[in-house]
Amino acid sequence: MSISPQWQIDRGQLNHNWLQNGVVVALNHASGICTGTVRPRDITRSLSEDINRWQERSTELSSLLNRFVVEMSPRIYFNSPPLSRCPEETRSWLEPLTHELWLQRGMREKIDAAKAAYQKADSAFQKIYAELSNLPSSPTTDDLKPACSQLQTLIARCQALADSISALPHRVLCC
């Protein structure tokens, strides 16, 4: 119904396609390895591949969250007709007002929550990377126990991150 910014397209790619259908699925696979329900030939390598999915695009995801306030603000309507023809004396106060009212409609809280969820997920990944580097080349079930509980935390944090990104609006909310 409205302008479809690149941000929306990128969000679909990163949150829906990569995070939920890529990273979370890979983490569940890794969890299966730790609990013994999945038995790959090379456990360490397979775990590493699953968990490294995060590194593939996590920087892009972080940048997506930083772009939100610029690209999804209704002030972008002032870049195209009819509001682009708005006289400067009106635009000088109406454009910042539109942006400020948008932030006041819960946008500040929502984007802060998504950024906090990102930080939590990222720090959990850093912990598990350290854990993985200490694993022997052919780990036993006991060796994998600490990673197993960390993986559950990681899956929960990734899901919370995905939910917080989904909670951001799906269109440029002008009012």
Binding site: S2, R85, C86, E89, T90, L94, E100, H170, R171, C174
Partner: protein, 261 residues
């Protein structure tokens, strides 16, 4: 026998979208989350964006209609890719599992006739209105933004704004009470280039655009927005206009919500 297939993990939405076709004794095939898509050739394929990731090419249909609930799986770039597909359309409003935004009986009938025209190869067939992309969404959006600005100036208690924001408020208060102020930001060309006659005809055109927009949605009464436009045309003062701007803004908000669920 007219055949309809629907691919959607939500059973309730499958039922609401196919209700008319069932009543018209069409053959319906439903595909849920765990159903494998098999090769077949329905006349009409209804498909949720999210479930379009399935192996949809095995279904050889005459017409495909995509829809979504306004979430992330909806294709935000549909307009740019639409022309590359044959007889592939989209319902532009959100269709929710509880039946909200689903096809009305009249719309389903229209779709039914349209698909029959496609099958018959009729050249002069017209696409049902609800499958047409919104044509002038930015006018509605601009009107909402102006309403907000107007209310912030003339009904400051509506919003919480810092005093510093309004350092030049005196000037703003005066300019926003004119018809010109609204039209400068809504007109499809600069009002400075318009003669007096053209100015009022531009306002009438604006009303027609707003009307058309609502015709596409067929969801809400748009009377409050037209009342505001009448008020702008008459050049009414804030004592009359504030309430009308509030009502129009509320209606636009509901309208935009209907589009995206």
């Amino acid at each position: 026998m007219f055949t309809v297939s629907i691919v959607d993990r939500q059973q309730s939405r499958r039922q609401s979208l196919t209700a008319f076709f069932k009543d018209a004794n069409c053959t319906i095939r439903e595909f849920g989350l765990y159903d494998e898509l098999v090769e077949h050739s329905p006349d009409l394929l209804l498909i949720h964006f999210r479930d379009g990731e399935k192996n949809i090419d095995v279904v050889k249909r005459s017409v495909a209609v995509y829809y979504g609930g306004g979430g992330e799986s909806d294709d935000p770039d549909w307009i740019n890719r639409k022309d590359t597909r044959q007889e592939c359309h989209r319902i532009w409003r959100a269709v929710m599992p509880d039946g909200k935004g689903s096809l009305t009986k009249d719309e389903a009938k229209e779709l039914f006739s349209y698909v029959k025209d496609v099958i018959a190869g009729k050249a002069d067939r017209s696409i049902p209105l609800f499958l047409e992309p919104p044509r002038h969404p930015n006018i509605i959006t601009a009107l909402a933004i102006l309403c907000q600005g107007y209310l912030a100036v003339h009904s400051p208690e509506t919003y919480k704004l810092d005093k510093e924001f309004w350092q030049q408020k005196g000037n703003v208060q005066k300019t926003t009470t004119t018809t010109q102020w609204w039209m400068d930001s809504l007109c499809n060309r600069s009002t400075a280039d318009l003669s007096k006659v053209d100015f009022w005809s531009a306002l009438k055109d604006l009303k027609k655009l707003v009307n058309k927009e609502w015709e596409v949605s067929r969801v809400l009464s748009f009377a409050p927005v037209l009342t505001l436009l009448d008020s702008i045309e008459l050049g009414e003062g804030p004592d009359m206009m504030v309430e009308k701007a509030k009502n129009a803004l509320e209606t636009i908000r509901e309208f935009l919500d209907e589009q995206t669920g």
